[in-house]
C-alpha cells in the first residue's frame, strides 16, 4: 500500500471532540476531473412530471456510471482499482494516513453512494417542491464505543447557493434514532459546506447532518464512503507528540494562567454553541471516555470530570 501521513494527537483529540476533520481542496484536480467523468452526468430535464423523477435520474446515472459496486465488508485496499479516481483518492498519503489513524490499516467498505443535489430546474420540471433534507444521523441507533467513519468527498467547488452538506459539529456521541431528530430544523453552530474542489470531510458516523437546496443550474455531487474498523481503534495515529503533560491534571475553575488551547484537555472540553448547560458537561464526560478508548488508557481524565464521579472510597474494617 502507499505511503501514509498519519494524524497527530491534536488532530485526533479534535476528532474526538468535534466528530470530524476537514481537509479543504486536498484531492488534486486531476483526480476530481477523473471522478466526475467516471461518475457520469445526470439526465437533462425533459419536462417529465412526477415525484419519482429524481430517483429515476439517479438510477440512470448509477446504471451507466463507471463507479464500481462494492460488496459490504470488502477490505478498502482491494475495493477500488489503483487506476480509478477513487483508487487514487484513498491512496493519497494524507487521506490514507487519516483513514488508518481512525479505522486502522485494514478497514472495510460498508457502502458508498453518490449523493446528488439536483438543480431547481429538475423540481420545476417535475412539479414537486424543492426541500432541504431533514437533519439526521446515518444508519440506525448505534450505541457502540467503536465507530465507523464516513468520507464526504466534494469533487467540484461548492458555492454558497449549492446547498452543501449541513452538519452539526460535536453531535457524534449522541445516541439517537436516525431521522427522529428531523424536528430540529436549525441548531446553533450548524455548518454548511462551502468548499473548493477536492475537499474531504472525515466524519464519525454519528454526526448529525443533512443536504441543502441547490439553487444553481448545475447538479451538485458528493460521494460518501462509509468505512468500518476491523481492529480496536487504539493508538492508530502518530502518537509521537504525546507528552506527560497530556496526561496530567491541571488546576480547574480557579486558575491564574490561561489554559493552552492546544492541550488535549482543552480540545476535549471545548464547548459547542448548541450545548445545554447540564448535558454540555455530559458531552465532556463522553468525550473523555471516547479518548480513553482511543488512548487505551482507562485512567485518562481532563479537568477532573470523570475522576470526580468515579471516586468511591471503600470502607476498610
Amino acid at each position: 500500500m502507499s505511503d501514509c501521513v498519519k494524524l497527530n494527537s491534536r488532530e485526533m483529540a479534535e476528532f474526538a471532540a468535534e466528530g470530524l476533520l476537514r481537509f479543504d481542496g486536498i484531492v488534486p484536480d486531476v483526480i476530481n476531473q477523473q471522478f466526475l467523468a467516471e461518475a457520469g452526468s445526470v439526465d437533462t430535464p425533459s419536462g417529465e412530471k412526477g415525484s419519482n423523477r429524481t430517483i429515476k435520474s439517479l438510477g440512470n446515472l448509477m446504471a451507466h456510471s463507471s463507479l464500481p459496486e462494492v460488496t459490504p465488508g470488502t477490505v478498502l485496499n482491494t475495493a477500488y482499482k489503483e487506476t480509478t479516481a477513487l483508487g487514487e483518492l484513498v491512496r493519497l498519503p494524507v487521506v490514507r494516513g487519516a483513514i488508518e489513524s481512525l479505522v486502522g490499516p485494514e478497514s472495510m467498505v460498508d457502502h458508498h453512494f453518490l449523493h446528488l443535489a439536483l438543480p431547481s430546474s429538475y423540481y420545476k420540471a417535475a412539479g414537486i417542491p424543492q426541500r432541504t433534507q431533514h437533519t439526521h444521523q446515518d444508519s440506525t441507533i448505534d450505541p457502540r464505543r467503536a465507530f465507523d467513519i464516513q468520507l464526504f468527498y466534494f469533487p467540484h467547488e461548492v458555492g454558497p447557493d449549492m446547498g452543501g452538506t449541513r452538519y452539526v459539529p460535536g453531535t457524534h456521541l449522541r445516541i439517537v434514532s436516525e431521522s427522529a431528530i428531523a424536528r430540529y430544523q436549525n441548531i446553533r453552530g450548524q455548518q454548511h459546506v462551502v468548499c473548493p474542489a477536492g475537499t474531504l470531510i472525515l466524519m464519525h458516523h454519528g454526526v448529525w447532518h443533512g443536504g441543502g437546496i441547490n439553487r444553481t443550474g448545475e447538479a451538485r455531487y458528493m460521494f460518501k464512503i462509509r468505512l468500518n474498523p476491523s481492529i480496536p481503534q487504539v493508538r492508530l495515529w502518530d502518537t509521537s507528540d504525546l507528552s506527560p503533560r497530556d496526561f496530567e491534571q491541571r488546576p480547574i475553575f480557579f486558575r491564574k494562567e490561561a489554559m493552552n488551547p492546544n492541550d488535549i484537555a482543552s480540545l476535549l472540553t471545548r464547548p459547542q454553541p448548541w450545548f445545554e448547560g447540564d448535558t454540555g458537561r455530559l458531552e465532556y464526560i463522553n468525550r473523555i471516555r471516547f479518548w480513553r478508548y482511543l488512548l487505551g488508557d482507562e485512567n485518562f481524565d481532563a479537568d477532573y470530570w470523570v475522576t470526580r464521579i468515579e471516586n468511591e472510597p471503600s470502607v476498610t474494617v
Binding site: 437533519t135 430540529y184 446553533r188 445545554e276
Partner: protein, 91 residues
C-alpha cells in the same frame, strides 16, 4: 374566515423559559412562510421569554425526567423543548 395555527418550537439551554435558544423549528399553517431544515443560522428569539413577549402562547414544555440507573451519562435528544403557537385568522 378560517383560524390557522403557527407553531414555533424552541429548544433552550435549560428548563428555564428565560434560557437561551439553542435550536428551533417553525411551521406556518397559513402557508405564507415556508420554513425548512437549515434555513437560518440565527434564531428569531434569543430566549423563550422573548417569544412570549412577541405574542407566542406556550402550549407544551418537556418534563424533567429522572435519569435511569446506568444511563445517567448517555446523551441523545435535546432536553428542553418548548412548543408555542399563534392562532391566525386567515382570510
Amino acid at each position: 374566515m378560517a383560524t390557522k395555527q403557527q407553531v414555533l418550537v424552541l429548544y433552550l439551554s435549560s428548563s428555564a423559559l428565560d434560557a437561551n435558544v439553542i435550536a428551533w423549528a417553525h411551521y406556518d399553517g397559513t402557508g405564507k412562510d415556508d420554513h425548512m431544515s437549515g434555513d437560518s443560522d440565527e434564531p428569531l428569539y434569543r430566549s423563550g421569554m422573548e417569544a412570549l413577549a412577541d405574542g407566542w402562547r406556550l402550549i407544551q414544555a418537556s418534563p424533567l425526567a429522572a435519569h435511569a440507573p446506568g444511563d445517567e451519562f448517555r446523551t441523545g435528544y435535546l432536553k428542553y423543548e418548548f412548543f408555542f403557537e399563534k392562532l391566525i385568522n386567515d382570510e
